[in-house]
Every structure is written in C-alpha cells, then in structure tokens.
Subunit: 220 residues, 4 copies
C-alpha cells in the first residue's frame, strides 16, 4: 500500500491549531481514498494531534538517548507516551551523527516506534539501510522545497537507492522525496520502485491543503 | 519571590504519566507553601501537563528558528501553542551555539515566553546576561547530578555571577544550580544573591518526590 | 594602526602553494604600505607559511580543548607550535557553542595567542565582548561573500557594535566584515569606529590578488 | 601486512616537537621490525612531520567540504598539500554526521587520500562499510583509554564486524581499537580477523614510547 508521509516542518500553516486541522485533513483523505497517510508534526503538537486523529503520527526527529540526564533531548519514551507511532530520523534539515542514527533506530525499536531514515544519495542510502530501519527516504537536498520533483529531476537516485537496498537489506522499504507535489510525481516515484513519498511544502503551503492532498493521491 | 525550576530531564520518573504526576506534585507544593515552582518536562509531555496544571511549564530546550523549513526543530510557536510559558536555553546537556542562544532568546520574546539561559562559569554568565534573557542560571557542569551543592562547593561562582550580572545587565535575574537537593542548599543559594535554583535529580529521583520537594521549600 | 585580517577560507586560490604565495603577497603589501595584515590560512598550511613569512599567521578556528583525548580537535598548543600567533573564533561558517568560545579564548590566552571572535549582530557582539577576547569582528552573515560591503549596507550594525563594546568592555577592539573589497569600504568601516576589517573573497578570488590588496590599503 | 595506526590525539607527549619525536620513533620501529605504522598527529603538526619522516602520516579528522567558503574546516586539498596520505574519519572523540562521513570519504578519494572510518558497534560498522572507505576501525567507546583491550573485553564486536564487512563490502579492511597496548592485544586482534589496530594512550603516554611500541610489534 502506497505510503505518504507529510512532514509538517515548522511551517506556520502546520503549527498548533493549524497542525491539528491539517492532521484532520490527512485523516479524512486517508479514509476517503484508502491511502496510508502519516502526519509528522512538531513534537510539541504530537499529543494534541494523537488524541484527535487515528492516522499514524510520527515525530520529525528523535535523539538516540534513553532515560537519564539528557536535558532537552527527544526520547522514544516521551514520543510513545504522547501518542506517536514512529519518527523521521536524519532529515536533511536535522542531520545526525552516524552513531546517533543507529542509537535512534535502536531506541525506537525498544518502544515499538517505526523508523524512517532520510538520506541524501545512494551511498548514504546504503549506509542507512545497513542499520535496518523500517524505511529509508532518499531526498536530494538541493530539490527539497524546490517544486521540482526528484522523480523527474533525478530518477537515478531513486532507482539506485531501490537497487542498493534490495542488495544490502531487502527488508527495508524505500521512500523518496524532494519536490513532490502532484499525483504524477507520486506515480513516477512508485514506478521507480519506491513504496511511497515524503513531502512537505507542496501540501502544507498549498492554498487549499485538502485539495492539494486529494490531487496527490487521486492522480496516483 | 524564590524561584524553583525543576528540570525533569529525560528521567523515567519524570516521563509521560510520571511527568504528569510530578507536575501535579509541583503544583500542590507550590500552592501549599506559596513558592513559585516551574516544571520543565520533555517537549512531548508539555501539552498534557499544561492542560492539567496551573503552574508555569517550561521547555528544556528551544531552537532559535521560526516558521519554515526547519524539520525536527523546537519552535517558540509550537511551545506556546502547547501551553508552555518559557524555556531553558543552553543547558549543559544541550549546549547551543552563541548565535542560536541569541536567536532563541529573540524567538521566545516574540511569543511571550520567558527565558533562562544556563551557563558554566562567570565568563559565560557575563556573555549570557549581555543578551538580556529573563534569567541566567549558572551551573558548574562537574557538580550536576553530583549531590554536592554548588552553593557549598563553589560559592564563588554564584557570587561572581551575581556581581557580574549586576554590572552588565542588572535587569537579568540570577539562578544557580548543580547538586541542589535540600532546603539548606536553597537557603545558601539565596544568601549568595541568587533568586532561586535550578534542580533535577535531587527531587526527580527521590524515593518520595513530594517529600523531597517539601523539604526543599520548607527548609528555606 | 589599521588591522586587515585576510581569511583564506578553503578557497583553491588560497590552499597549499597558493596559500604560501598569497601570504607572501600579504607580507609584501604589509611592508610596502606599513599596514598590519594578518593571514588566516587553513590549519594544515600554517606551518609552511609561518616559516616563510614574518607577518602574523592566524588559524581560522580553534577548539577550546587542551592536552588529552581530543582526537581531531585543533588545540592552541599545536597552533603555537606550528607558528600561529592567533585565531579567529566562531566565524559564521564555523559557529561554536557559547561554552566553547569561552574555552577557546582561555586556551588562546594560556598559549599567548590573540583572539578575534566573530559575531552576527549587536547582541552577540555584546556577549562576545563580555568574554574579553582581543577583538570582536561583527559580520552580518547575509552579506558575507556578497560583494556588498557591510559598511554601506548596514552601517548601524558596525556603529552599534562599537558603542556596545565601549560600554561593556572597552579594552576589546572591534573589527567588521562581510562584503569588504575596496579601499572605500575599509575607509567607511574605520569611520564607523571599527579598527579594521576581516575579509576574504574580495581579495582571495580577485584576478590579481596583489593589486586587489594594494587597492584596499591605499584607498584607505 | 599488519597495520598499526597510532593516534596522537592532542596529548602533550604528541604535540609539536613531541609529535615530531614520536613520529620518528614510529619510523624507526617500522623499519626495524618491518611493520606498517601510520602516524596520526594533529593537523597543525602534519606538515613538519611529513617533511621529516617517510612513514604515512594521516589526519585525525577531515571535513567533507571542498574548495570554497568553508572557514575553519579541514579539507582534503590542504591535508594533501601538507603531506598527509590519509585520514581517520568519525573517531569517537570527533563524531560526524552520516552525510559528512560520506562526503569526507569522497573528498579523500578525489585527492588520493586513504580513509579509516571509526565505528562504535557492529551496526555502525555495517553502515560505514557500505560507504566503501579503505578501512573501518571498530572501537567500543567505553574501552577507549581504559587499558582494557577490546580484543579481550569484547571479542564479539571485532568478530562481528569482520563478518559483517565480509558480507556487505568485502574490499573494506577491518581494524579494531580501544585499550590496545601490548603485543598480546595486537595478536588477539589479528586472530579475530582484523588486519591491524588503532591505538593511542598505551603508546603515547608510555614512559618509554619506543619501548612500548617495540613491545607491541614484537609481541605479535
């Protein structure tokens, strides 16, 4: 089943009450069109959203630390308690050290949280897959927020990532992202072998978020 | 009025439901003994706690970014929406770059959030005060979690910070922390000129958190 | 005496043999026009340059750690041994945590190295000055490498920094940078109260580095 | 041929003139006992050492950036120009982001520098190997500087790393480190399938560095 991960980032249109509204739109579209949509709001918004919607809610970032003296860190335990069911890890706007990515994946597994590790090219996709997250999401940083879909601008990075993961760790799913907005972008991404997409501004900053999301999933 | 800031860190005894329980204890003690207690839980716990208690709830960390493409960052807007009224900044377990401390203070001011910047010695206290947060909290890192109170082990750092802030920016309050557990530690801290304390394990990991907190405030 | 700090960054035109050549140009111009020019090459180039020229050679960055288990860090001891006489600290392309800036200043002082702390606005200039480096160099990040001189585009940040430092720590010198290329830029910077400039691409990437440097110092 | 990589860290006994002396000891022992010894001094010391000895000199850290506006970074170009022939990457005392490790490996390859990526467990060894450096060096952080050799305390991590690399990228060599001091430690490391060791304090801080190094290589 096609997976759509909507990264709310810290956009005004997806913070606080706006985040709640957008998550509800995600839930509506998910039900109506039978697609799996994951909402990834800011950590402070997770609790209110988790109480309001039934679609999965992911964090945008998690620190690979456990219980203890780790002031200011985002732990798997706290995300779980707030109602999250997974987390993005190593997004290009929140890159992590290798050892911390691995520790984050482990921490998520301990608390039953799903993991999507973001990468920037085929080589880092290989590395991320070798640590066995649930998904790797490859995104060329220069296309993020550009409106130019990775599936058109750089199909080789998606195809290359899919092939590399199949060899190294076939149980890991591959998503792609950067510049994804329309149904045709999603369709192209799936044809390249990815199982879904990670997207943000194309939906979050659309004049009509619901319509944009519907266009994305029905065009597919 | 004496200020007590309780940093929940990521301790198991102060995460999720435990965080809620501890915040309620803080509220009870605050009311009963007429002291100002601030609860600083993990970001994911802020929303549930803010809905349950009336004492101020602070974040343990904030990133100095605004609305936009800042995946995985903690923004003032999201903290405000979740019910926080302030934030620790630059705790020794979550040190920030100078430019980010300044940007965090600005972001908090824009959203009406109070700021407590943590520092590690008199020189960094001077620097932090020069950026005009509401409070500076000086904590020698080697004493954090040690059980040896800064007010006894290194009174000079507290006195020196108080004097330095008076010269550079007298409107900024001074707190101190590290090893603070008992009423006598708090009393000593106040006698050195600080307006309150920042503490964590002494209360959070106490067998009886309520009793430990009562001892702290009544001993003063 | 006007101070000119030439940051070699990692430009090809200022790496390895090119760095040596550029340092020699700096020395020639320094002698001929009696201006103080500091060359700030990459750390790996410091030793060869220090052996070849007599003008001061500064590092572009230093870590605030001492002798010990600090693999991969740049120490004051090693810079001193290689012939450096100072270091930039906290450049906008290599921002540091507050505590590390303070530790870097201390480490430099222990080894007799001069310190120039870079800042991005008046508030961080105040903070940096409060830690008593030899100089603060204020540079609005958005103008760095732009060719638009700070002295023209944002004179208020220079004037504001000069005034702030005078109040907080009058013994600290103020430099400014970003977009500085020509003699008139330098002149304007001095008129605003700064004691010199920090610059890079305007000279390093000039077709004729010697001519560009001569234009800078003679136009002043 | 057994590979011995001596990390000088920032120890006083391996900085400046002491670094030069230690590199000469490495060269002498290397010649006399026909073992391959790599000296990894601080970046500022590389130039002087490279001019004095003929054994390979590696950096302890490299940033994955190229020519340009990257103030304060350590580039492959500058290391090459200073005489280095390789670099450690991602040492536990200087951890890097995943994307930067990959960029560092690429940068080193462009300049003909060899790469040794340090890792902390089998999972990160897998990830590092997937990016095809010349070597992966696995070191449990808790044993570094402990004097308790990894080959005795945690043989499983070495064996597991060797096996994992064979599967994922057999062209990558495996080293191990942490607590290695004596010939028997080296011998045990080789028996577990590693091709050599990465070590530091056991030699650098020995009363007689030459004798310690001879003991290491002759005991093997």
């Amino acid at each position: 089943m096609t997976l759509i991960v909507l990264n709310f980032k810290t956009y005004r249109e997806a913070t606080g009450d706006n985040a709640l509204r957008l998550a509800e739109i995600c839930e509506d579209v998910s039900k109506e069109y039978s697609v799996k949509i994951i909402a990834a709001p800011q950590v402070a918004d997770i609790h209110a959203i988790s109480e309001a919607v039934k679609i999965p809610v992911y964090a945008q970032h998690i620190d690979g630390v456990g219980y203890g003296g780790f002031t200011g860190h985002v732990t798997a335990a706290s995300l779980k308690a707030a109602g999250a069911s997974g987390s993005l890890i190593n997004h290009s706007e929140r890159r992590l050290k290798l050892a911390d990515i691995e520790a984050s994946i482990s921490a998520c597994k301990s608390f039953g949280l799903a993991t999507i590790v973001c990468t920037n090219n085929v080589a880092t996709t290989r590395a991320a897959a070798a640590m066995k997250p649930d998904y790797v999401a490859v995104e060329p940083p220069e296309l993020i927020g550009s409106g130019i879909p990775v599936s058109k601008a750089d199909p080789g990075i998606v195809k290359g990532s899919v092939d590399a993961v199949k060899k190294i760790e076939p149980g890991v799913g591959v998503l792609c992202g950067a510049g994804i907005t329309h149904g045709e972008d999603l369709k192209a991404a799936l044809e390249l072998g990815s199982e879904g997409v990670l997207l943000a501004s194309g939906i979050v900053k659309a004049k009509d978020q619901r319509k944009a999301l519907e266009e994305l999933v029905t065009g597919a």
